[in-house]
Amino acid sequence: MPWVTRGLRSGVVTTRYPRRPDGYPGPWVGSVRPRTSPPGEVDSGLDLESLCPTGAIRWEDPVVTVDRGRCILCMRCVRERPDIFVADGEVEVAVLHPSALVSPGPGSDDERALATLRTDLLRRTRALRRSVHIRHVDAGSDGTEEWEIAALTNPVYDVQRLGIFFTASPRHADILLVTGAGSGAMTGPLVETYEAMPSPKVVVAAGTDALSGGMHAGSYATTGGVTASLPVDVLVPGSPPSPFSLLHGILLAVGIVADRSGGGKQHEG
């Protein structure tokens, strides 16, 4: 069987993430934020908001903020105003609350609220840390998120090594991984899938479309993201999020890694 030897040809290609940072995320865009000198402040009123196709940029004199829950990483702001906006290759972008997606970051009140969310999530997912089953539902994606989720099973990410499996049946699922802007006709099937899952369950919304509707936010046919239909626990921005970001979101959901504002690792799996 020639495929057997072919399979051995490339040696080990699997990333060592999350144990070690992967060398790959570098030249590409993971998140966009205002420059911090001083944090988010701009010296004059500017027509910055109209640069953005999704309303992710807010200007409240003198502070400019970017909401990554709306940002589709189009780079228009970075290209037009490199003095104000900057892009980086950050891939660990998943968070537990929409307020943590806004940069400059949340104030101390938000920090306290986040800590509560974190503890609550950890309590719910304690049992899932060694093996977790994911049910994916597309609620009106553009098709790219599905490719990136499917990539998690390729030999490079190979998520089975981390005890992460995809399942067809909602009855066996611990995590509901939702993509898409929340198309009206998918709301019913989406909620039914959620209800069919046993507790404890966690909802991960993957992609800017799922978080806010992205460019489809104002459409007659969408609910502007899935947060209106489901209690979302983990938010993964990106258009689409890269496989690393998706993996970060899943690991965050089961408490194996921490969110960015939460400091270092909280638990080893």
């Binding site: 495929w3 290209r79 553009d142 790219t144 030999p155 006709a185 459409s219 046919a221 969408t222 890269s242």
Partner: protein, 518 residues
């Protein structure tokens, strides 16, 4: 590329026109509704023949809610009529009654009517609700899991509803299977679950934001959609993108094609239980996505194509780009060669999902689907754009078996040609990097007004995008994906197949549901 300008007719003349076109060997490429510059309503029929694309615009009388059926002339028009019924509430007269396709709205709901001004809303049709309430809310859109009338009746026939939530990581789509057991006499695809109202979303955007939405119509073909949209905008603006930009566009488009063709093969190998082949091909696709990210900062090359050219030079060292590409090309070629000589794999595709050549011609099937059934349309060769003419494209001949295996063969050959083109383009981009700094983008007049059609060969087949703008704002954008056009043929692919073949038929069609549902 030159965009054809519309021939103005009365709407009643359209069926005759269409019959004439088909009679002389042409095909129907698309039908859509738009407002004319004089604010009258027109039904636009895009045809194609050896001479290229042609546009016939049939003007409708004000307040008219009906037009003469085009599906009575060719079945290829049926899905377009259903779409128009759903989005505009206009119906075809003299054809068969039509099931909703994209939008299941309660009777009497207002229709979204992308691209139309207020004059139509001021005159609602009988049975439609009052003006003012111009758009349905998402809550009014029904998932319609209720009863759909059976098409096939007979002893022991039962109806199986499959989807919209799939078993596996796939886009949502529903299938209604009517079967007496193993055979599949009827398969009806239900695509409305994913309808996002894309076309209405374009209205009012400037062209810079418009291209971002175009990239999201059918995300896996972001580059193709962006090029088709920009072509139309550039035609309106009278701008030809600089040659360096054309090279870069071609490079990204060909890499995108390979990624999509590999997706079809991933589905096949997974369904056939070819675990090692699946792992190898998914590894190659990952390599491909990383090469794209290296060059553009985005794994789907988003943000590269902009009106007037591309957003900038490749983001990485062109020499490195070339090296990674050549390495991948070699590995891919070797694995595809082995795949195509693995009998247990080929057996699953042979005589599966047959679309006979006559049927493909009748529908004007596009892309690998058409080319696997004797219908060799390829925009890159017949109406060259970007740098295809300059680099020279070798189009592989059409095959006439019409089965999933024929489509697989077509894709394997196309991957080889796409990789060759990508390498040649990368070499040229490297030469550019050593010379003086070339232009990557030309300015587009911010107040452009006009209308034009762009067309490219997307991985799924011919894509045409209609753009109308006034004062720099988009009024109507109609992307007609090959996925939409081809998917109408899906239900014809099953007469000889059993349930276990479903995954192969679906994989070999290579449809993006987002591109169908809009």
């Amino acid at each position: 590329m030159r965009s054809p300008s519309p021939t103005v007719l009365g709407v009643e003349e359209l069926p005759g026109r269409l019959a004439e076109l088909l009679g002389s060997g042409g095909r129907l490429a698309g039908v859509f509704v738009d407002e004319a510059p004089d604010e009258r309503l027109r039904l636009v029929v895009v045809g194609a023949d050896a001479g290229g694309l042609s546009i016939s615009a049939g003007y409708m009388a004000r307040d008219d809610r009906h037009y003469p059926s085009l599906s009575a002339v060719t079945p290829a028009a049926a899905w377009y009529e259903r779409e128009i019924q759903d989005l505009y509430g206009l119906s075809a007269e003299g054809g068969a009654p039509q099931e909703p396709l994209l939008l299941h709205l309660a009777p009497g709901s207002p229709r979204p009517r992308p691209g139309l001004g207020s004059h139509l809303e001021a005159a609602p049709a009988p049975g439609e609700s009052a003006p003012g309430a111009s758009r349905p809310g998402a809550a009014e859109i029904r998932s319609d899991d209720g009863q759909v009338p059976a098409e096939v009746t007979g002893p022991g026939v039962f109806t199986l509803s499959y989807g919209p939530v799939r078993s596996g990581v796939f886009e949502s789509v529903g299938y209604l299977l009517e079967t007496p057991g193993e055979d599949l006499p009827s398969v009806r695809a239900r695509v409305h679950y994913k309808h996002r109202g894309i076309e209405a979303g374009f209205t009012g955007l400037d062209v810079g934001h418009g291209v971002l939405l175009a990239e999201r119509v059918e995300g896996v073909a972001s580059v193709a959609h962006a090029i088709a949209f920009c072509q139309a905008v550039e035609t309106i603006a009278g701008v030809s993108p600089p040659s360096a930009a054309e090279l870069s566009r071609l490079w990204h488009a060909e890499i995108e094609r390979v990624a999509n063709h590999l997706d079809s093969m991933l589905r096949h190998t997974e369904a056939a239980g070819q675990a090692v082949a699946y792992a190898r091909l998914s590894f190659h696709r990952e390599a491909l996505m990383r090469i794209r990210a290296m060059a553009s900062g985005h794994r789907f090359s988003r943000g590269v194509v902009v009106p007037g050219g591309v957003s900038g030079p490749p983001m990485c060292d062109p020499g490195e780009l070339l090296r990674s590409l050549e390495k991948l090309r070699e590995a891919l070629e070797a694995d595809l060669e082995l795949l195509m000589s693995t009998p247990s794999f080929l057996d699953r595709l042979r005589r599966t999902g047959v679309i006979p050549c006559e049927l493909a011609a009748l529908y004007g099937a596009l892309g690998p689907l058409g080319r696997g059934s004797g219908h060799g349309v390829d925009v890159r060769a017949s109406r060259p754009y970007s740098a295809y003419e300059r680099l020279g494209i070798r189009v592989s001949g059409a095959r006439d078996e019409g089965d999933a295996l024929a489509r697989q063969h077509v894709r394997v050959e196309e991957i080889a040609e796409s990789m060759r083109l990508a390498v040649v383009a990368a070499e040229k981009l490297r030469e550019l990097a050593t010379g003086s700094t070339p232009d990557w983008c030309l300015p587009i007049d911010p107040g452009i007004t006009g209308e034009a059609l762009g067309s490219v060969e997307a991985p799924q087949g011919e894509l045409i995008t209609w753009v109308r703008a006034t004062g720099g704002r988009l009024r109507r954008v109609k992307p007609r994906s090959a996925s939409f056009h081809n998917f109408a043929l899906f239900s014809s692919a099953f007469p000889k197949d059993i349930f276990t073949d479903f995954a192969f038929v679906e994989g070999s069609f290579g449809i993006s549901i987002a591109g169908v549902a809009g």
